[in-house]
Symmetry: C2
Subunit: 158 residues, 2 copies
């Protein structure tokens, strides 16, 4: 069975049955969810990535933690963290304080403005979460999260 010649329209492309059904579906969904997150914030006149949100939550709940501790918790290199903190600090959401007990480390804390902003960010994230789960029943959402964990557990990296 010959395939029709490639057209200009992307809709006509033969995607075949990608062997990577599960991985492919996961990637597409993750990408769409990321876009939804960005759109939710953008529409509200805010700008934040899921990673930045997670970082702010971690700092709020573990005030005074060091950059190394935070980097480990996020699974990134300490050098990667530096420009990310720079940006958040430039936005006055977070600050680096000198640790009184260990001169090598910085104690990270949200600023009052950061704490306030995080309240708003959290409500935006809830809105986003509500939408992406909107076509799932409560039971399905639970199943989904449990399946995600199972897949993650089947991975080499864990």
């Amino acid at each position: 069975m010959g395939r029709p010649p490639a057209k200009t329209s992307a809709a006509n492309l033969d995607r075949g049955l990608l062997p990577s059904l599960l991985g492919y579906a996961l990637r597409r969904t993750q990408s769409a969810v990321f876009a939804d997150f960005a759109a939710t914030f953008s529409t509200a006149g805010a700008a934040l990535t899921p990673g930045e949100f997670g970082l702010l939550v971690l700092v709020e709940r573990n005030a005074g933690l060091s950059q190394m501790t935070l980097a480990r918790a996020l699974g990134i290199d300490r050098s990667t963290l530096v420009p990310i903190l720079d940006r958040l600090q430039a936005r006055s959401l977070l600050e680096r304080r000198r640790s009184p007990t260990d001169g090598r480390t910085h104690a990270l804390e949200l600023t009052p403005a950061g704490t306030k902003a995080l309240v708003r960010f959290t409500s935006l994230v809830r809105k986003h979460e509500k939408r992406i789960a909107s076509r799932l029943s409560t039971a399905e959402t639970e199943t989904f999260i449990s399946l995600l964990e199972k897949v993650r557990a089947g991975t080499r990296s864990i």
Copy 2:
């Protein structure tokens, strides 16, 4: 209830209940699956990203397609595609031919080596897929994919 002071160990961090349960779980799983993909290829002495794999499959199944068509199918800008193709072409997996019918476009094709390599890549992807689905029954895998699609459909971006 006060929280214990932050320790050096990441394991002691208070992650609280991130409001973004679903999005967060999705992100972590996607990240672990990506790492597994990379590890599978690396162990076999190969190097490829899921995106590159998808691109090669698309070119194989739609030989002669243009860069614009491919970019649209991948959901990326045409300028983004250029260095990606450059790299694949430098690896002699793919080539840009002049289109005989439209002087502005390139007709993309896998090289014979690229076609051969893709066979091997496909078997590596199957191995990877098998592992990430290893803790799921067949029914669960189907459910999982259908839930992924439902989540994607609930998104703004689609």
